[in-house]
Subunit: 195 residues, 2 copies
């Protein structure tokens, strides 16, 4: 590993999905710094479909909470900040500007809604992972939550189907620090094979 | 940013999607180190659907190459290592072991093939992003390629539909180093809104 051990700990080895945070607020400056770092991450044709809704008001948090399972609702309402991550279903309209090297890219996705949906989900998820890594890089902790009623959230926040919800991420400073038990991970040989 | 500037450069700011590599081989030890780091990344219900096929033989590389576009074929055949990233379509069968806290998780996905497919794609993509970050953390460069005939690759490598191809990643030491032009990235205010 060329990455130094402290960075390995910060981003992966000592980083955990957090449910409980201190009361300290998450300033916009921190989120701007995260974006400035992780926007560099690669996506197919540079499509960058991810959109991030920062639910800061009690009203917006409440609109989300009613579509969460009870345990996710409680931790979400208690978090200093909740980000609703979604994908722009019309991401392809930006491609002439974002990926001028392939002028046909926008038409490719315009003609094939299934490909467009799959590509938004896949590349939005790549960007969601970069965002989680970036939150940790900023010294914050993330609590990603995927247990929600997706069609309910979509109707609530995106009535014109302009975006589709991907992931809810609670963000703040973790209430607990230091090593703790982690759910089991697959071994190298369970994940890899050589052909 | 708590992450030090050298690590920011290594993982994001000075990292690029690479098409051309030196001839230096990628040893298995490096891939084991990447796995040891990024396996810690979060997935929903700890499902870890990603599987990685290391195409080291000329025969396996050729089986993939015939499903790539011409430009992707040339750079893939020239790369020191090509990894075919895929998702395990039966990932849910491992959940009783991987996420014992919710014994009903496996049944949830068994009953709903659409949810299972979406979840594998989303969480496999999160893990693909962790893998790309891990490759860079190891001092290597990655060239992710999503322009391939997915159903062709699936028939070629997964005739029983046991897995689905996600992303091809060429890996090696980059032939070029240092800053270079980067395709435009969306600004903070184009991606975020506060509610």
């Amino acid at each position: 590993m060329l990455l130094d051990p402290a960075a390995q700990d910060l981003l992966f080895r000592q980083a955990y999905t957090e449910d409980r945070f201190t009361g300290e607020a998450v300033p916009e400056d921190a989120l701007r710094a995260v974006h400035d770092l992780v926007r560099n991450g690669p996506t197919a044709f540079n499509q960058q479909p991810l959109r991030i809704h920062l639910l800061r008001s009690a009203a917006s948090r409440g609109r989300l909470a009613r579509h969460l399972s009870r345990s996710n609702r409680e931790k979400t309402l208690a978090a200093p900040l909740t980000a609703l991550l979604a994908v722009d279903n019309a991401f392809h309209l930006r491609l002439p500007e974002l990926f001028p090297a392939f002028p046909g890219a926008a038409a490719l996705y315009a003609e094939d809604p299934g490909l467009r949906e799959r590509s938004a989900l896949m590349n939005g998820s790549l960007q969601a992972a970069y965002f989680l890594v970036g939150i940790r890089a900023a010294g914050l902790a993330a609590g990603p939550v995927s247990g929600f009623d997706q069609s309910g959230v979509d109707r609530e926040f995106f009535p014109d189907a302009e975006q589709s919800a991907l992931l809810v991420v609670n963000i703040g400073r973790p209430a607990a620090t230091g090593p703790r038990p982690r759910a089991p991970r697959l071994a190298y040989d369970e994940v890899h094979r050589t052909l």
